[in-house]
């Protein structure tokens, strides 16, 4: 997960989590619901697991905001 954006306090990189490493413009087949547009249940699970809950702490300054 990339949390180093300068515009945001935190970034969740769903693209990096769900793409097929062999074809980065496509979903990983396991994460593809079938329409190549929406994630499957496993895809949604992977996206949820990619969220660092520390982003929602009361002191977000420990992430990106602190570096500015």
């Amino acid at each position: 997960m990339d949390t180093t954006s300068a515009a945001y306090d935190g970034v969740i990189d769903f693209d990096a989590v769900t793409r097929d490493p062999a074809q980065p413009t496509r979903f990983l087949p396991l994460y593809d619901s079938g329409d190549h547009l929406h994630p499957s249940d496993a895809g949604y699970r992977a996206m949820a697991d990619a969220i660092d809950l520390a982003l929602f702490s009361s002191r977000p300054a420990t992430t990106q905001a602190a570096s500015r």
Binding site: S5, A6, I12, F14, H36
Partner: protein, 137 residues
């Protein structure tokens, strides 16, 4: 007598016809005239209560009397617009304590409306989300 009454009504109507036409015309153009007159009045004699701290302190009311209302200041035009507030991420953070997060767009090649142009835009947006300078937020 019914015929005479009808004739009298017809004669009266014919005499009143020009007045009726004038009245109808005035009613038809009245909204436009009123709007124009109102606009001129608004531009030329528009007044407002003083904004901010007045030049002179308000005159105290005599004991036991209601406060003296302040005279509105005469102005020649509409009030000045409020200062433009450029709200970006930093401004928003200063107004309220919030955290602003971003999430990249997931791939969609194979979908019905996939295009290479759209893919290029998706990658550009994702790159912006990952590395956008703070001044563009």
């Amino acid at each position: 007598m019914i015929g005479a009454d009808w004739l009298a009504r017809a004669r009266l109507a014919s005499k009143c016809l020009p007045a009726i036409v004038v009245a109808a015309t005035l009613l038809a153009v009245y909204p436009t005239l009123a709007q124009q007159a109102g606009a001129e009045r608004w531009v030329g004699t528009w007044t407002t209560a003083p904004v901010g701290r007045p030049q002179n302190p308000p005159m105290p009311a005599p004991p036991g009397r209601p406060p003296i209302p302040q005279t509105p200041q005469r102005q020649s035009g509409p009030p000045a617009p409020a200062p433009f507030l450029h709200v970006n991420n930093q401004t928003l953070r200063q107004i309220v304590r919030v955290s602003i997060g971003g999430a990249t767009l997931t791939p969609f090649e194979g979908a019905a409306y996939f295009t290479t142009v759209g893919e290029g835009k998706r990658q550009a947006v994702n790159q912006w989300i990952r590395r956008a300078p703070p001044t563009t937020g």
